[in-house]
Symmetry: C2
């Protein structure tokens, strides 16, 4: 961790602070346009961030960003301007708050709804240690739908501590914010903010122990400073929720007009590629035309999951529940009890939030819910909190669950076709980009069947699951100069025992875009436990995987074509 | 699934219905006293259940019990009286709702907060299919703290469907209900119920789209029937939340006075045994006397976890956040960022709710939180939804995490002592009962070290983790007539490579009280993947484990002393 010196803005005039906001905004636009990253959300809270740094004293005071994707201005103001051009690149600054990176980052975030719980824990520790600093949770209205917020509110009084929650309301999570809580917020603010008087009638936040206050123009740095000063005083004796309105994408007209498309943007050097999400959207629409039982469930991210068209075409058979992965899972299970055919699409890393419900609600009831797991494997530039590298490990121990991993977009389509008539819980996991097509059968797929893509002539069989793993398998085989058998292990559960039992080679290599521990390779080790096969698993070693490009991270953390080729070479 | 005939109570007079309530109550008391089970909660809602069966038409209408432990009167009224004596016994009725058991059980539950999401899914499916029945979620005020409730509320309006939520308020979850939501409910009911007039001023439920109504004496069957009739009418056009007050343990004075102790009771035949929870409570109190950084976090269940005394002695250093496992996990992580030493105690099955937060908040930040995982392994009579058999599988893939499994209560104590100075995330997992002590060193323990409990003289090494597995190992060894090496594999992560590399025996047997897939044994298979060891894993096969006694379920689902002895015998 470096000892950064914060930007000194305490002596600036309001006019100078406004100029600083413009400078920060330019810097963010330039860098994000180049490196990729979260754009609109960062532009929206420039004034808030400047005002926070003006009024509070970081790092003594603690600022916790919910999700954390909106911390760019904070990074720039906390001494990381020189490194800012490295953001989201391997070895560079993270696009999220990182305690390891700077003492100005108080708590690592990445998934929604954690900031208030974290603020409460930090504040409680402060009280126990007799310290005296301010703790601030900054949360957007999208995260605000998550049940964690309610759980944290519920323990504010029992914990008997003071925190400031800033609710940054821009009416958008990644998609427009859904749900009644958002409607409630609108009514609340209309009553208490818009009319320029804070009504003292009980709102729900006051019941939970907060003093409720607000600012209608959260993009006015002068107004924000004056309000934050007021709130800082209040904080001595009570917890405060400060409800502010900001404009997502503020100051960049393209973003203001397209906040959803510019929530996260790719770097300027990246080429457009076909994506698995596109296959999902297209195939599911086609299936739904013929089968009126098909229903789509998302927990935000609908467009990124490829389902915008489905939602438009079938409004009655689709629901985005907001960032509520647990609820989405149960809703899917319950729909399935009544003969509806739910497809729950979600990023791998966020599926972790549904873990208990996958076990109890979907699998122990053996319900035909299909979970379409996007961004599986290394997802890249978002880093530790977003890599989808655990799913094969945590899912494979669940009874009744079938786990499919398509080798390419065409096979993904076949799997979706299979799912429409499949009567058990099913997971299909895939990365974002679809980069190549493999030869192989285009016939309908049965659960638990693999396919042999290349018959070998040496004592080596390579079992690879998913496009990335197969691509590596073929490249490593070529490089090794040998001809191993290459098998498309497209189901991690159940395994294809017919093919496994038919493997003559004594050397078995597994390749997967997942952690080694508990992953596909470990299932193969267990399968041959009483056998004399020599098995080598390639996958990710036991550590968290930081941000960087997908290719360099795969190479560095365990999937090196060279290493695999070298291993094949030395097999006897 | 059997075709049960419901008890016909539609023609009974109020006096007769009251008599029926008495009969049901007697039946429940007699059976639970004998079989064990949930007592107070079932006694509290007898009148409500009778009124529901009187007013609604099951199984056409759907009734979803949150958690599901309070379904006994419902089972008795839905044709399962004859089998009721078998409840919670292997092959008998489940103590929870089970769709497989009866069409009167609409949705399987077991963990808190799922009923409203499930009701919404079932109601939405009904609407899509053009059907016309009522969907009722029955939830207690303890479950009502869980974030899922809020997530479900948030999507009531977007789903555009009608459900009835009955909030059964008895001021208790298992421990007295904590948190501000409960205070809010009290104020709400005082305003609107106690004063005998329903005030129309906006309460939070109305904002979410519910019509709010209530009954102060939920144990008066006549009042309940009249109110439910009224609500049934309303349901045609809107969703309703019906807030009722009942007395936990109603009608059995011992329970009324001790609702916490009689929430779940053991059968009359069970003997009192020392429990791991007792060791936890005692040791943690002792450690906390000397170390003021130690802090205890629970998500309800405080007494069953052995921490009642700790909470009494250290009120400032303990918090029960209610049934909010996710929030509890983040709170622990955040406390640890500030140098506090949190112990988060929780049942294995409920830890599943914390999965994402264990990965992101605790482990990716590498914070010294100790998770004390009670009821790990088969937990017995509560069945599928409560077995703690997945934890080793889903935890072992998480980087930075150490996983300890004590061989007995004494070793558990040593592990807790170790934890006080351990600077990384740590899990200690153990079952409820402590049944025996093993010989072995009483010295301080270092993370990742195993111990050899018996030096063998044949070509077999048995690696067992945890008391139950070791007990089976010794019994199987004795029965086999051979003398294998027996190793106390007290850390599942990291593995003790020194001992593993020193194993000369070619045959390795692993035993664990966990699923086979992804469990301890699979780690051993992976460890020796390139080796020529012959490895046999004993643990639970790939299926959900129903209710029954711990001993019979262990035997039936994969841990049979006879089978293991037979395997040892035939090893060469």
């Amino acid at each position: 961790m470096q000892n950064y010196q914060p930007y000194n803005l305490k002596d600036l005039s309001i006019a100078q602070l406004k100029g600083l906001c413009d400078t920060l905004r330019d810097k963010i636009i330039t860098t994000v346009t180049n490196n990729g990253g979260h754009l609109s959300s960062n532009l929206g809270i420039v004034e808030l961030t400047v005002a926070l740094h003006y009024v509070f004293d970081f790092p003594e005071d603690k600022l916790i960003f919910d999700v954390g994707h909106q911390c760019y201005a904070h990074k720039l103001l906390s001494g990381r301007e020189a490194e800012f051009g490295t953001i989201r690149k391997r070895g560079g600054l993270s696009g999220f708050p990182k305690r390891e990176e700077s003492e100005f980052d108080s708590y690592n975030t990445g998934h929604a709804g954690t900031s208030i719980s974290a603020a409460l824990g930090i504040a409680k520790a402060r009280d126990l240690k007799g310290q005296n600093f301010n703790v601030i949770a900054l949360i957007g209205d999208g995260s605000f739908n998550n049940g964690l917020v309610y759980e944290a509110f519920n323990s504010l009084k029992p914990l008997n501590t003071n925190i400031l929650v800033i609710l940054n309301d821009n009416g958008m999570s990644i998609s427009p914010t859904v749900g009644s809580m958002h409607e409630y917020l609108e009514i609340l603010s209309h009553d208490s903010l818009h009319s320029q008087k804070i009504q003292r009638h009980a709102n729900i936040f006051e019941r939970f122990g907060f003093s409720y206050d607000g600012v209608y123009d959260g993009n006015d740095v002068e107004v924000m400073i004056s309000k934050l000063k007021e709130v800082k005083e209040k904080l001595r004796t009570q917890s405060v929720i400060l409800h502010i309105y900001t404009k997502k994408g503020k100051g960049y007209s393209f973003c203001e007009e397209n906040p959803q498309d510019t929530h996260g943007v790719s770097g300027s050097n990246s080429k457009p590629m076909p994506e698995y999400s596109h296959v999902l959207g297209q195939t599911l629409c086609e299936l739904a035309e013929k089968d009126d039982r098909i229903f789509a469930v998302t927990a935000a991210m609908t467009p990124s999951l490829g389902l915008a068209e489905f939602f438009e075409k079938f409004p009655e058979r689709s629901i985005d529940v907001g960032i509520c992965e647990e609820h989405a899972t149960i809703l899917s299970a319950a729909l399935a009890t009544q003969g509806i055919k739910p497809y729950y699409a979600v990023y791998s890393t966020f599926l972790q939030r549904s873990y208990d419900e996958i076990i109890v609600d979907i699998c122990s009831q053996n319900l035909p819910v299909t979970m379409c797991i996007d961004r599986a494997g290394i997802s890249g530039a978002d880093g530790e909190t977003h890599q989808g590298v655990f799913d094969l490990s945590y899912l494979s121990c669940i009874p009744n669950l079938t786990i499919a991993v398509p080798k390419d977009g065409r096979e993904f389509r076949r799997m979706l076709e299979m799912s429409a008539h499949y009567d058990h819980p099913l997971v299909i996991r895939y990365p974002k980009d679809c980069r190549q097509y493999f030869d192989g059968s285009d016939a309908p797929i049965s659960a638990g069947t693999w396919e042999i893509l290349a018959e070998g002539d040496c004592n080596v069989a390579v079992l690879a699951c998913g496009e990335r793993a197969l691509s590596i398998a073929f490249r490593a085989a070529k490089l090794s100069g040998k001809m191993p058998t290459i098998i498309n292990a497209r189901f991690v559960k159940p395994l294809d025992k017919r093919i496994l039992d038919g493997i003559d080679a004594q050397n078995i290599i597994t390749i997967e875009d997942n952690m080694l521990t508990g992953g596909f390779g470990s299932l193969i080790c267990s399968y041959f436990a009483e056998n004399n096969k020599i098995i080598k698993n390639f996958g990710y070693k036991d550590s968290f995987i930081p941000h960087g490009s997908v290719t360099e991270l795969m190479e560095e953390f365990g999937l090196s074509v060279d290493d695999i080729a070298a291993y094949i070479k030395k097999c006897e």
